[in-house]
């Protein structure tokens, strides 16, 4: 019997991606003196946190066999709304943060209802909410561009979640504490995916929704939950985004979801659902972020990053396709 062949490949893919991450970092560092600077690393991490949060969230809908296109514009929308309350209306920062996260959760649940209850195809359902959140963000923020309080300003404490600055002026030292925060979240979400009913049924829905339903599982509820998680994480991502980007512009955000989805797929989430891991997603996001940040340092235009990312994605998807073809033949 051909035992564990597909499991072996899964592990392989994670391992392969890890090696790619290491190789990319080493190669870029070797070629570019600037790339291997500590400040570059901190900057790169800053712009990775929010993508990683989005990717962890969207991993759930992807594993159910769906997708969530609303997370990019959604993240901007939630960040604008929360920031508007803080900057323009004078609420304390924590109120803005809570509102942003809850707003994300709400849109996530809406996505879930559209897809699980009203049976809209995920691509279409979340495309609608993608458009809606784009408009909604501008409306909620009264069309203002929103600069959340800076790291040094009053109410800017939330920056410290991701980047702790000690000292001032030339002696200021940045510590990327976000790495620890994100590591904790990765561990928690890995647990959710592998050791809870939500995770188990998310995977089961992606593998065989009908058989899962006929086992007496409340498939609709778990399907909605997968999208709710995605929305919640888009809300959390808006915090990381606000910490990384000085000013949030209304009308932006479209396309960011593709980096997150791409990262998840590169990391081994099956594009047809039923398989995937949080650690894989994390590594996939690293690959994408390394390419995005690193290629300009070695003298390639930023546009090349898009092309290379596309090629990497094709490679990742091919692994899945070949795996499925083999399973179909054996089965």
């Amino acid at each position: 019997m051909k035992k564990k062949k597909s499991l072996g490949l899964m592990a392989d893919q994670k391992f392969i991606v890890l090696i790619i991450v290491v190789i990319l970092y080493v190669v870029f560092s070797f070629i570019s003196k600037d790339f291997r600077k500590y400040s570059t690393l901190v900057m790169m991490l800053d712009s990775t946190y929010y993508i990683l949060l989005l990717a962890m969230g969207v991993t759930f809908p992807l594993i159910t066999g769906g997708v969530d296109l609303s997370i990019g514009t959604g993240m901007i929308c939630y960040g604008l709304t929360g920031g508007y309350l803080v900057v323009q209306k004078g609420y304390p920062t924590w109120v803005g943060l809570v509102v942003a996260v809850l707003f994300g959760l709400l849109i996530g649940i809406l996505n879930g209802i559209l897809i699980a209850v009203m049976d809209l195809p995920p691509f279409l359902g979340t495309l609608c909410t993608c458009m809606m959140t784009r408009g909604l963000g501008s409306i909620c923020a009264n069309s203002f561009a929103i600069p959340w309080p800076g790291a040094k300003a009053e109410g800017g404490w939330f920056h410290n979640i991701f980047k702790l600055t000690v000292g001032a002026g030339r002696k200021a030292m940045n510590y990327p504490v976000g790495v620890i925060v994100l590591a904790v979240i990765v561990i928690i979400m890995s647990f959710v995916l592998n050791h809870t009913r939500v995770g188990r049924y998310t995977i089961a829905i992606g593998s065989n929704k009908e058989a899962t339903r006929l086992s007496g599982v409340n498939v609709k509820a778990y399907h909605i939950t997968a999208y709710a998680i995605s929305g919640l994480f888009a809300g959390l991502a808006s915090l990381a985004y606000a910490a990384a980007i000085p000013t949030i512009q209304p009308g932006t955000g479209a396309g960011i979801e593709l980096d997150a989805i791409g990262g998840a797929i590169v990391g081994g989430v099956s594009p047809t659902g039923g398989a995937g891991s949080i650690v894989g997603t994390m590594l996939g996001v690293f690959v994408i972020q390394l390419l995005k940040t690193g290629l300009p340092y070695i003298g390639l235009e930023a546009n090349w990053q898009q092309i290379v990312t596309g090629l990497v994605l094709i490679g990742a998807v091919m692994i899945d396709v070949i795996k499925q073809r083999r399973e179909a033949l054996e089965g």
């Binding site: 019997m1 051909k2 035992k3 564990k4 597909s6 499991l7 647990f191 050791h195 809870t196 009913r197 188990r200 049924y201 995977i203 089961a204 593998s207 065989n208 009908e210 058989a211 899962t212 339903r213 006929l214 086992s215 007496g216 599982v217 409340n218 039923g274 398989a275 399973e327 054996e330 089965g331």
Partner: protein, 499 residues
């Protein structure tokens, strides 16, 4: 009969856990209709898939038109004149008849598709087969019978020399079957070779020249149809293993309580006013022809499909079942006829499948207790004698019989008291079949109540304590096993059609 067109010799094929074909041989001549018979899981379809290049054979030779061949896909087989008319129709409903027949090889006129030529050619094809179908009609508007004719026309349009009919009559009416036979005779007179797969003994006698019988993946023998009787063929098909005597009397105690009562159930187009009772420890057989509404009845009871009206009582209490979730809560488990689609999650492990319906009992707080899960999985592997190297084995790698055991385990883990087995031994080889039967008898003896839907008469007669017969969505008979005969059941299963 003319010269030999096809000779398959010593074909051997294994899948993980199953020896699907064990040195099977088949010879077909030109101008012959050759029946390929055997019970479900005997290996007929596998043999045909090897022939048409869907599966690669492990051993053996295929000689076609005097030359050794090995087709790599159906396309290549088609190009060489070997075509298969499938049981399930492969038609695109929204395209016209002509577009369907020429799909993938549309005649061109410059850059355009030459619709006119397609229609003219289709007409010529239908004329040759004496079929009356308008090539410009949409496929979805034809009856199933006519769609089947189109499928045949499409097959022949590939300049076919060897045509395989895979249970072509399963969904046809009497009249349509006659039309089909006219076409087949016509093709035979044109010196084509024809392989005809069917379960219907009467058809075999009417339409075929020779019969090759397979059993349990092996070759049993070839007979000239005229020289043998139905019984000869049946004996070859079933061997000694499965042709056991029917149950003689009900094993249910007279005072066994009613656990499930269904009253005036109506659901969709296929279930009309169905009422019955199921008693503790009983195996209640549901017999009937294909499309009699048995599966639909089961799915409606289980909440898998919506019902329009009707009451369900469990242990005397009226219950509301609007989803499988409700049904499972009330102790009902459903084992679908289509395991791969509805029964199991093939890409997941035995353990994950086993606890699928009862995961809430395997939690430690928020987390799944994987040790406890593994223990119960191991327990049922042992108890049901599931053949697998480990609990982590993906279900996709198990044989049909062992997959069915995993589904049974799922409901036993859930501690369901009412089990609905829909075609419990479909796609399961003979040895494993007996094991499933034993298991079902054991479950009934332990006090589980079983509804068994089956299209195999021997299975119905062997397993049931009582038999309900359905026809066209209605219950047409209820027979105690003591009085049941094949003839009586058949009579009730066809009753409504005559009326």
């Amino acid at each position: 009969m003319g010269e030999t067109i096809l000779e398959m010799k010593d074909i051997d094929k294994s899948f993980p856990g199953v020896h699907a074909l064990d040195h099977v041989s088949l010879e077909v001549k030109r101008g012959e209709v050759h029946a390929l018979m055997g019970e479900n899981g005997a290996g007929k379809s596998t043999l045909m898939k090897v022939l048409t290049g869907i599966y690669k054979k492990d051993e053996g030779t295929i000689t076609y038109k005097g030359r050794e061949v090995e087709f790599h896909n159906t396309r290549e087989a088609q190009d060489n004149g070997v075509v298969i008319v499938h049981q399930e129709l492969n038609m695109v409903g929204d395209l016209t008849v002509a577009q369907n027949i020429f799909i993938g090889r549309e005649p061109r006129k410059g850059f355009r598709i030459d619709d006119k030529k397609m229609i003219v050619d289709s007409r010529a094809l239908f004329d040759r087969l004496h079929i009356d179908i308008d090539p410009t009609e949409k496929m979805s508007e034809l009856t199933v019978g006519k769609q089947q004719m189109c499928e045949i026309a499409k097959a022949i349009s590939h300049n076919a020399e060897l045509i395989i009919f895979d249970e072509p009559s399963a969904a046809l009416t009497e009249k349509e079957i006659e039309d089909l036979f006219t076409i087949i005779r016509d093709l035979r007179s044109q010196n084509l070779g024809i392989i005809y797969i069917s379960h219907r003994m009467d058809e075999i006698k009417v339409i075929t020249d020779r019969v090759t019988v397979m059993r349990d993946g092996g070759y049993v023998g070839t007979l000239v149809t005229e020289e043998c009787t139905k019984e000869d063929i049946i004996n070859m098909m079933v061997g000694r293993v499965i042709y056991e005597k029917p149950k003689e009397k009900s094993l249910v105690p007279a005072d066994a309580p009613v656990v499930l009562k269904v009253e005036h159930l109506n659901a969709g187009k296929m279930v009309h006013d169905v009422s019955f009772e199921l008693r503790k420890g009983e195996i209640l057989g549901f017999s009937g022809l294909m499309g009699a509404g048995r599966t639909e009845t089961a799915r409606a009871i289980f909440g898998a499909d919506p019902k329009q009206s009707g009451d369900i009582y469990i242990n005397g209490e009226k219950v509301e079942i609007n989803s499988p979730e409700d049904a499972v809560k009330h102790g009902i488990g459903y084992l679908s006829e289509d395991r791969r689609r509805f029964g199991i999650v093939v890409g997941k492990s035995i353990t994950e499948n086993s606890t699928m319906a009862a995961l809430s009992e395997y939690m430690s707080g928020l987390f799944i207790n994987k040790n406890k899960e593994k223990q119960v999985s191991e327990k049922y592997i042992k108890e049901l004698d599931t053949k697998t190297p480990s609990t982590d084995q993906l279900v996709v790698n198990l044989s049909g019989g062992n997959q069915q055991k995993v589904v049974i385990a799922k409901w036993l883990v859930r501690n369901s008291d009412i089990l609905i087995f829909d075609e419990p031994t479909r796609g399961i080889d003979v040895g494993a079949k007996n094991e499933i039967y034993k298991l079902m008898n054991r479950l009934a003896a332990e006090g589980k109540s079983i509804i068994m839907i089956s299209s195999e008469m021997t299975e119905i007669l062997r397993m049931s304590d009582r038999i309900i017969v359905m026809c066209e969505g209605r219950k047409t008979g209820e027979i105690n096993i003591e009085e049941a005969t094949q003839e009586l059941i058949m009579d009730k299963a066809t009753r409504q059609m005559e009326a």
